[in-house]
């Protein structure tokens, strides 16, 4: 079928919406409720209205399907009038504290307001920002119900920034099936929030904060804690950075997604005053070696199978809350962050003769959920909290901007060598399928005792929600699956329960495409952006001289000097953990 948009012909399929055709052809339509990670919009924000030859009034392009002979105009006087008035209405209902806002400069409402020349308030603001005495009375009258939720360990909500676009409601339901969000009250008191306005009870994945157009939902900001530690001369600030954030960090500073930013990231952390900067990839390599050993043990001893990876804390807590019967399937291995945390405050502190109580262990993560993980009571291998502060890459970038550091202009930095050697395998942790591939590289060599010829397991790469493969290592056949997004994990669990599927080893990541699409990654996010990030990861793995976790020289040394052998007593004590049935706890 062919339709006309702004007098130019475009090909399209029946059933497509005007919005998606425009998007494909680079015709920009503003929107505040549609998002590439969501199912087609319900047409809530009314920003993408257009005029057509087939209806009298304006139609929402995100909803309107094409039909024969359709002619669309996307920028008429009425279209722009509608957008402007509706933006004015939203603007006056929004906090309007741009300068102090966490999303300043990255806010979709702010960008549209600028584009449509919204300056000042056409309508009396309903929030606190007006301070002049004569307007204050109006405000008292206008004050609307604000919910600020600080009780969730990872996600902060402040409804004064909320424009009721409902993306959070939809992503939590569609992608994660958790349904932690809903809509409360009605008319102008409508508030997007939680049922009965309880504190947000969820799996902490933070996808809501990644799709929120404003700062109504953000990561729980811990910049201040970090700054305080940096300023304290008594404290030794040791930072670790996750595998994936080196591929996304520079997005925060205007570079395209997938740009390898490891050296600038380390440099920026040093410029901020971090005493040591280590690479979480060492933790990832440890995880792989321990997990491979655990898998081989389970297979050989006919233990509980399939074994599930446990490096994604949202996935772990999802199992604990919704499918506790699968807790025995979770690998007992701690995540890379927590393995690193445990090593920093034990082995490293001992070796360097630091008092662990003076160490502030900080991790830079793509993830909101890691904040929760670090605070779990089991995570005290050193006798105290192993990781003290978890910052998402967004928070770190904010701090760097605040300190007026331009990382791109900094001289390249290098990880401190003590715990800072990276491998290609560990690099892969950043994207869905990476843990699986890294584990297979190690498991295959451990089982066969021979060196792998080709280390790339392409069968586990890709973007499908559930990817299955059968891997043959000698006479051992491993049925593996790689899953991302909880809706797919839920399906996988149900299939296991009903016997429809059988696996030996399953990797699960709660976020789309794994950590590279983490809830704490830079905004905006979309399948295209994540593809570009993944490309960066794969290229980098290929270029690494060491591509297998167990060949990491630092790791080998640590086992030799400190941990003994994988799965041994010391490793068990420091690198493994336990899980709790949380089904009835909220």
């Amino acid at each position: 079928m062919q339709i006309k948009i702004n007098n130019k012909p475009y090909n399209c399929e029946s059933g497509e919406t005007i919005f998606s055709i425009c998007k494909r052809n680079g015709i920009r339509l503003p929107t505040l409720c549609a998002h590439p990670d969501l199912l087609p919009s319900e047409g809530v924000c009314r920003m993408c209205l257009v005029e057509t030859n087939q209806s009298k009034g304006l139609v929402p392009s995100c909803v309107q399907k094409v039909s024969e002979g359709l002619e669309v105009r996307t920028e008429t006087e009425n279209v722009n009038k509608a957008r402007k008035i509706n933006l004015e209405l939203l603007w006056a209902d929004h906090a309007g504290k741009c300068a102090a806002c966490l999303r300043n400069g990255r806010c979709e409402l702010q960008k549209l307001a600028k584009e449509y020349d919204i300056d000042g308030f056409k309508f009396v603001p309903r929030r606190k920002e007006l301070k002049s005495e004569n307007e204050l009375d109006l405000l008292k009258d206008n004050w609307s119900h604000v919910v600020a939720d600080e009780k969730n360990p990872c996600i902060a909500r402040d409804s004064q920034y909320c424009i009721e676009c409902r993306r959070c409601v939809r992503i939590c339901r569609e992608m994660q099936t958790v349904e932690a969000y809903g809509t409360n009250y009605r008319s102008s008191n409508t508030n997007v929030g939680t049922p009965y306005e309880i504190p947000l009870d969820c799996i902490f994945c933070g996808q809501c904060s990644a799709v929120c157009p404003t700062a109504a939902i953000t990561e729980k900001d811990e910049i201040e804690k970090f700054e305080k530690a940096l300023a304290d001369p008594q404290k030794m600030v040791i930072v670790q950075t996750a595998p994936s954030v080196r591929f996304t960090f520079l997005e925060e500073f205007g570079m395209p997604p997938g740009t390898f930013g490891e050296k600038k990231l380390v440099a920026a952390l040093k410029a901020l005053g971090a005493n040591k900067v280590f690479d979480t990839i060492l933790g990832a390599d440890l995880t792989i070696v321990e997990e491979a050993a655990e898998l081989i043990k389970r297979v050989k001893n006919k233990g509980v199978l399939p074994m599930f990876t446990s490096c994604c804390p949202s996935w772990v807590v999802y199992v604990e809350k919704y499918y506790p019967e699968f807790i025995p399937n979770l690998s007992s291995c701690k995540s890379p962050q927590q393995m690193m945390g445990a090593l920093i405050k034990t082995h490293y502190a001992k070796k360097e003769k630091f008092d662990p109580k003076n160490i502030v262990s900080v991790s830079i993560m793509p993830c909101t959920s890691k904040k929760y993980e670090a605070a779990r009571s089991e995570m005290k291998a050193s006798g105290r909290q192993d990781v003290d502060i978890v910052l998402t890459i967004r928070e770190l970038a904010r701090l760097i901007r605040k300190k007026k550091i331009d990382p791109i202009k900094l001289e390249d930095g290098k990880f401190d060598p003590a715990l800072g050697i990276s491998t290609g395998a560990g690099m892969l942790f950043g994207s869905s399928g990476g843990v699986m591939e890294a584990a297979l590289r190690t498991a295959a060599e451990k089982i066969t005792g021979e060196e792998l010829g080709r280390v790339d397991f392409e069968v586990v790469r890709g973007e499908e929600g559930i990817r299955c493969a059968e891997i043959e290592i000698n006479d051992l056949k491993l049925r593996v699956a790689v899953v991302h997004e909880i809706r797919n994990a839920k399906k996988m669990l149900e299939d296991l329960k009903s016997g429809k599927a059988q696996y030996d080893f399953v990797e699960v990541m709660a976020c789309p495409n794994g950590c590279i699409g983490g809830g704490g990654q830079p905004v905006p996010t979309s399948p295209e952006i994540r593809s570009a990030r993944i490309k960066g990861v794969i290229v980098r793995d290929k270029g690494m001289s060491i591509r297998k976790s167990h060949e990491n020289p630092v790791l080998k040394k640590i086992y030799k000097e400190f941990l003994g052998k994988p799965g041994g007593d010391k490793a068990e004590e420091l690198l493994h953990t336990k899980y709790t049935n949380r089904k009835n706890i909220s």
């Binding site: 319900e42 047409g43 809530v44 924000c45 009314r46 209205l49 009034g57 304006l58 909803v63 009425n78 009038k81 509608a82 008035i85 509706n86 004015e88 209405l89 939203l90 006056a92 209902d93 056409k122 309508f123 009396v124 206008n142 424009i163 009721e164 809903g182 809509t183 009250y185 009605r186 008319s187 102008s188 008191n189 409508t190």
Partner: protein, 408 residues
């Protein structure tokens, strides 16, 4: 002309026998001996249009669902009536509940639904109780339930009480409400006759519409279609209120003029003593304002300059303060907006805010421009018609009485 209000004085709503004695449930008996499609075509031929406000031809709606093969279908009687000044469905339910039940049963049979609902406004406690008793009695008499009147037809009816939200009278919001979801309109298409309650084909009919059905079946489509204008036949319950002498419900053939309704001694009987006609609001809070010069307009469903909506006519005299009226309209729509789309959620709020200032004679210069912008966005950009409705009376008032509102 009495169809819906016929026999009201003879019928005891709490006693099904009084309804049966006046010919009740005969239509149902007649219907179950015919094929469902024949029933649909009879209703279609009668020209009956929905009495809830939209005026969509009932038979056509039924036909869509009747022709769909589905394991389950539903029919819902919409008794959510919650527009200020509209209470006709409540009165029907209180005076003759079986007329609604019989119409609903006939509809269920025609479209092939085994389950039916009466969705009733949460504030309607008394009519809900009457309907409940009526339903029990109808079940005892085997008009409702398994094997209706000895046939193999099963129809269960449930009364579902809403929470009193105006938006739940919109059929998709009503369906959401029954499903246990937030009462908000859904995206259309699919329309309910194709995919409605729990994704099944669903017919939603206004209570007054259904109350007309037994008559059509008994007397035949030909008789019915000759009442009133051919495109909009039948009678309609109108509600007269305001500065008119006789207030209340009047059943008149469609096609009657507003002038007749208001001034004819059979109905309104003219203005209250000492009051002078200013304008009439046709169709409830969402209705247009009709000036003296337009009183000769026919009140009909279908294309019309003054849509009759649910049938309320508010007569306003020259003593009335337009600012009070503006406030009451804005107040209603602001309260009842569901909050889903931006222009309605925020626009109705701003209109209400401005109406407050207007009432207190505290209007600023910028508010005048803002009124125009809000009315424009409500009329042109909202998700569902409620947003458009919110602007109707205001827009008329601004263009007709600018001087009274803003001063010279």
């Amino acid at each position: 002309m009495e169809i819906v209000t016929k026999n009201w004085e003879k019928i005891n709503p709490l006693d099904i026998n009084t309804y049966i004695r006046s010919g009740g449930y005969e239509a149902l008996r007649k219907v179950i001996r015919e094929t469902p499609l024949k029933v649909v075509s009879e209703i279609k031929r009668s020209g009956l249009r929905g009495r809830g406000g939209g005026g969509f031809p009932t038979g056509e709606k039924w036909e869509i669902t009747a022709k769909i093969e589905a394991d389950e279908k539903f029919i819902i009687c919409n008794l959510d009536e919650s527009e200020p000044g509209v209470y006709k469905d409540r009165i029907i339910a209180e005076k003759n509940p079986h007329q609604i039940i019989e119409g609903l049963l006939i509809g269920a049979y025609a479209i092939g639904a085994k389950r039916a609902f009466i969705y009733i406004n949460g504030h309607y406690k008394k009519p809900a109780e009457i309907l409940k008793i009526a339903l029990e009695q109808a079940r005892e008499k085997e008009f409702v339930g398994r094997g209706i009147m000895g046939s193999s037809i099963d129809v269960e009816i449930e009364i579902f009480s809403g929470a009193g939200a105006y938006i739940c009278g919109e059929e998709n919001a009503l369906i959401n409400s029954i499903e246990g979801k937030r009462g908000e309109p859904r995206l259309k298409p699919p329309h309910p006759p194709v995919s409605g309650l729990f994704g099944k084909p669903t017919i939603v009919n206004n209570a007054e519409t259904l109350a007309n059905v037994p008559y059509i079946i008994k007397r035949g489509a030909d008789v019915y279609s000759k009442i009133g204008p051919s495109l909009s036949p039948g009678t309609k319950l109108f509600l007269l209120e305001g500065a008119v002498k006789n207030k209340g419900i009047f059943e008149v053939p469609l096609g009657t003029t507003a002038e007749d309704l208001i001034f004819n001694s059979l109905y309104g009987g003219g203005m209250e003593d000492g009051k002078e006609f200013w304008f009439a609001q046709i169709g409830g809070a969402s209705g247009r304002l009709m000036p003296r010069g337009k009183l000769d307009q026919l009140l009909i469903y279908g294309p019309s300059e003054y849509p009759i909506g649910a049938g309320s006519i508010l007569v306003v005299d020259k003593m009335a303060d337009i600012k009070d009226l503006l406030f009451s309209w804005a107040d209603f729509f602001h309260r009842e907006s569901c909050g889903k789309c931006v222009p309605c959620r925020e626009g109705t709020y701003r209109l209400w805010e401005i109406a407050k200032w207007l009432k207190n004679n505290d209007l600023k210069e910028r508010d005048r421009e803002n009124i125009e912008d809000i009315l424009w966005t409500l009329s042109n950009t909202t998700f569902c018609p409620l947003g458009n409705f919110a602007a109707v009376a205001w827009s008329d008032a601004i263009s007709m009485f600018s001087e009274e509102i803003f001063g010279k």
